[in-house]
Every structure is written in structure tokens, then in C-alpha cells.
């Protein structure tokens, strides 16, 4: 039972990882001068909203 659980969990994660990797162009090509974090997802939820708000306030000032 434990064996099945351990195998199922890690295999699911490996397959998700492979599918995610597959979708990304920077797997095979990368600009050595780029300063961007490849594949960094935009900030989610509350943090992004807060940042946007702060940004707006800064630009209003």
C-alpha cells in the first residue's frame, strides 16, 4: 500500500513536471544575457494586487 502511494505520488509529479517542461521554449534555447527569470510566473492573487496598488500610488504621487 505504502509502495503504491509513494510510486503514484512521485510519478504524478514527474509526469506533471515533464509536461510543464515540454511547453517551455527555454528548455532548448536561452539568451545568456537575459536578466529575466525564465518561466517565472506572474505574481498570484493578493500579492500581485498589492503590488499593482502600490505601483499606482507611486505613479499618482
Amino acid at each position: 500500500m505504502i509502495d503504491y502511494f509513494a510510486l503514484a505520488l512521485t510519478h504524478a509529479l514527474i509526469m506533471i513536471a515533464l509536461l510543464r517542461v515540454l511547453m517551455r521554449d527555454e528548455l532548448d534555447r536561452e539568451d545568456p544575457l537575459s536578466d529575466d527569470v525564465p518561466g517565472a510566473e506572474p505574481q498570484a492573487g493578493r500579492e500581485a494586487r498589492r503590488n499593482r496598488r502600490n505601483h499606482r500610488r507611486d505613479s499618482d504621487a
Binding site: 512521485t10 509526469m15 536578466d35
Partner: protein, 460 residues
């Protein structure tokens, strides 16, 4: 059911490789660590999947990858020299048949370690390789950790997916691997982009690390305990809040106590008393024998040369006689005792040249990782934050491996050779990025000068 699932996973990986051939490299990492062909019983052993993945990985690189991105480095040269030297000692091996058996997997592990860095030329590839390595070994670690937690641990009584002591399905080796993976798990959880850090990733990483720490307890591998201690001390270097770290480490230790099987204390108690423990006392004898052997055969005796040894010594044996413990001195003869140390394994099998190559491979790695860690520590660009910590993690893993290797014959352990491959890939990646930057700066300077020169005549 399990057999079919594993078979489908492997076939799925092979199919995904048609779109991105790099997946075949990851498939080989997966197959070589987990050995699904040994877990399954009908479908997976049907095809030589390990060989197929090995060939596909090479073919994918040869056909699809830009060769201009690949560099052949000094450490790959050392690995190649070691491979050639192992082949030479195979020719004059003391035990040709046993040597051939070992050579059959050693050459593959060495060739793959030389090849792996050639394919890992982007950040995502390095990360994907580290992640697949962690998750695949994680399958074995999680099952071992859970069995330990639920009371199924114990030396010789713990069952893995595969029970033939091969590869990392050997309890002491698994314990060393599990502890060596902890720094890589931490790095993946902090700097990963495939699974970006969030509460789910942190929770999984935390539990996986806990499972890793339970492996030396469940397998009752004494070396594992030493590895935990070394890792604990080393991590003091990089943690921000040392007091919190010490408190957390203490709490984790207390949490682990209920999971420790009673036989563990008995086995660990023998750590201090070398005399009455057969495994430990023959170890010292084998090391002495190997030194003598190397004096006579400085070029090495080929794989499995230890089979020639034989020791007779007196050992105190305690037995229970009607409630009273009686200790007697008994003469014990041991034959063909394994090296129980990678340093002596290299010395006995590959002689001084092999030992020097092997030690320099690791020492150079430690130095190289340290230099990357220092150089990239204070970088500000968001794309330059992961290299230093990864160098640090790979360095820690390497040190843990060397601690484990001092007491186990794991000189050619494929998982650690893969970590060497990752180190080489990281060093090459960093060097490439630096030279590209320097080149860009030079170009910008040249252009600025040219612009200034062409602007001058226009000035009145």
C-alpha cells in the same frame, strides 16, 4: 496494474521525447535510479528499457541539440581517463568474471556522467534534471520513510521496491543518497520554476526531507547518522537565522524519536565499540590488507580484487546461558570481505592512478562549487540568483557523499555520478554566461568608442 502503470510511464516518456528529445535524458535518469524494469514483472522487463533510453538520449542530443552549446571540460576529461583506466585494469583483473559483471554497469554510469553535462546547457534543463533525480529517488525515500514511520523499519527487515541490493536499493547507499538529496530538495523548493515555490511545494519539500532523515533510521545505516550530523553542521554556513535553525533541528530530532525501532539503539551503540562488531573490525582489517595489496599491485587488481582477502581473528562473542551473559573469545575467519570504503575500493581495484583520478574529480568539484558560490553570491540580476545556491547545494551533496563513501564502496554509484554531471553542467553554464556578458560589455564599449569617434568631426 502496477506493472502496466510503470510500463505506460516509460512509454509515455519515450513518446514525449519525440516532441522534445531532451525528455529522453530525463527518462534515462528516471530508469537508471528507479529501475522500473525490476519492479514490474511482465511488461516492463519485456524490453531493455534502460538500454533504449540510453541510446535515445544520445541520439536525441546528436540529432537535435546545438553542439556549439556543449563544452568538454577538465572534469569530463578526468571521468574519461577513469573510464579508460578501468577498462585497462579489466584486462589484468584478478577475478575476470566478477570484474566483467561490475564493468557492465560501471562503464554506463561513467559514460552517462560524461555525457549528461553536454545536454544540460539551459537553466531549465539543469533544473529539470535535478527535479527528476529528486522525485525518482524520492519514490524510494518516501516509501522507506513511511514504512519507518509506521514501524516497519529495521536492518534486513525493511523491504524496498527491489530487494537485490543493486544500485540505491542497498540500505546504507540509500541512506547516504537520501541525506545527500536534502540540499538539492531545498534548492528546488526555493529556486524552482517548474514547480514555483508556494505552500504546496514547501509542504511537499518539508515532508520529503523528513522522509530522507528517516531513511538512515529505518535502514539502521550507521553511516547515514554521520551524514546527517555533517549536513547539520554544514548548513549552519548558509542559514540566515542560526538560532531558529538550531531550534528547528532539535525539534525535528525529537519528532523523529518515536519512529526509531528498538533495534536501532543496539546497532548504533556499536558505533563506539569497534572491537566487538564484525562489520566494523573487518573493515579496518580490509583497509590494511588493501594498503598491502596496493604496495604489491600499484596499478590495481581490477574490479572486485577484494575477493582475494581472508582474515582470521579473535572476536568476543556474548551469548545468553540460563539468564547469565557469557562472553567468549572465538576465532572467526572471514573471506572476500568487500572494501567498505570507496577510497580503498579505488585503491585496490584501480591502484594509485585510479585513486588519484577519483579523488581529484571530487576535490576539483568541491573547489569549483565553492568558487561559483562566492562569485555569484552578491549578484543582483533576478536571473542570477539560483546559481550560487545550487553550487552550494551540490557541494554539500558531494561532501555528504564523500563522508558516506569513506565507509562504503560506492565509488561508481550512478546517482552521485549524475550529481557530478550536474556540477559540471552548472560550472559550464556559469562560465558561458560570464563570457557572454564580458563579450557584450566589450562590444558595447567598442561601439561607444566608435560612436564617439564618428561624432567628433561634427563638433565645431
Amino acid at each position: 496494474m502496477l506493472d502496466a502503470a510503470l510500463f505506460l510511464t516509460v512509454m509515455g516518456m519515450f513518446a514525449l521525447g519525440l516532441k522534445r528529445p531532451f525528455v529522453w535524458v530525463l527518462a534515462y535518469l528516471y530508469i537508471d535510479i528507479l529501475a522500473p524494469q525490476k519492479i514490474g514483472w511482465t511488461l516492463t522487463p519485456l524490453l531493455p528499457i534502460s538500454l533504449i533510453a540510453f541510446l535515445l538520449a544520445f541520439a536525441g542530443w546528436a540529432v537535435a541539440d546545438p553542439k556549439s552549446e556543449s563544452r568538454f571540460t577538465l572534469r569530463q576529461g578526468i571521468l574519461l581517463a577513469l573510464l579508460v583506466y578501468c577498462f585497462m585494469t579489466l584486462q589484468w583483473a584478478d577475478f575476470p568474471e566478477n570484474a566483467q559483471d561490475k564493468w557492465d554497469w560501471v562503464w554506463k554510469a561513467l559514460v552517462f556522467a560524461i555525457f549528461l553535462p553536454l545536454t544540460l546547457f539551459t537553466r531549465l534543463r539543469i533544473e529539470a534534471a535535478a527535479l527528476v533525480l529528486v522525485l525518482t529517488a524520492g519514490a524510494i525515500v518516501i516509501s522507506t520513510g513511511m514504512k519507518t514511520a509506521l514501524g516497519g523499519g529495521g536492518y534486513d527487515s525493511l523491504y524496498f521496491f527491489v530487494n537485490d541490493n543493486s544500485n540505491i536499493y542497498e540500505s546504507s547507499t540509500l541512506a547516504t543518497v537520501a541525506i545527500a538529496l536534502i540540499p538539492i530538495i531545498l534548492w528546488s523548493a526555493r529556486h524552482g520554476t517548474i514547480f514555483p515555490p508556494d505552500w504546496r511545494v514547501r509542504t511537499f519539500a518539508g515532508l520529503l526531507i523528513f522522509a530522507c532523515l528517516l531513511v538512515p533510521i529505518g535502514t539502521e545505516a550507521r553511516t547515514g547518522l554521520l551524514c546527517i550530523a555533517v549536513l547539520g553542521v554544514m548548513m549552519l554556513r548558509d542559514v540566515k537565522n542560526r538560532i531558529m535553525y538550531l531550534l528547528a533541528a532539535g525539534a525535528l530530532g525529537v519528532m523523529a524519536l518515536p519512529f526509531i525501532p528498538a533495534s536501532y539503539y543496539e546497532r548504533m551503540a556499536t558505533l563506539g565499540s569497534v572491537q566487538s562488531d564484525q562489520s566494523a573490525s573487518t573493515r579496518v582489517q580490509v583497509w590494511m590488507w588493501t594498503l598491502d595489496y596496493a604496495a604489491e599491485n600499484p596499478l590495481g587488481g581490477g574490479f572486485d580484487a577484494y575477493r582475494a582477502n581472508e582474515f582470521t581473528y579473535d572476536l568476543p562473542v556474548t551469548r545468553d546461558e540460563g539468564g547469565a551473559l557469557v562472553t567468549e573469545i572465538k576465532e572467526v575467519t572471514d573471506e572476500s570481505r568487500a572494501y567498505h570504503s570507496s577510497f580503498f575500493e579505488m585503491l585496490g581495484e584501480q591502484g594509485w592512478p585510479g585513486l588519484i583520478l577519483w579523488v581529484s574529480l571530487h576535490v576539483l568539484g568541491l573547489v569549483q562549487m565553492e568558487s561559483i558560490r562566492r562569485k555569484w553570491r552578491n549578484r543582483e540580476s533576478p536571473a542570477e540568483q539560483w546559481q550560487g545556491p545550487l553550487a552550494s547545494a551540490l557541494q554539500f551533496s558531494n561532501i555528504i557523499y564523500l563522508v558516506g563513501a569513506t565507509f562504503q564502496g560506492i565509488a561508481y554509484q550512478p546517482v552521485f555520478l549524475m550529481l557530478i554531471g550536474l556540477q559540471i553542467a552548472l560550472a559550464t553554464y556559469c562560465r558561458k554566461r560570464e563570457s557572454a556578458k564580458a563579450e557584450a560589455e566589450r562590444k558595447a564599449l567598442r561601439e561607444a568608442r566608435r560612436a564617439a569617434a564618428s561624432a567628433e568631426p561634427a563638433m565645431p
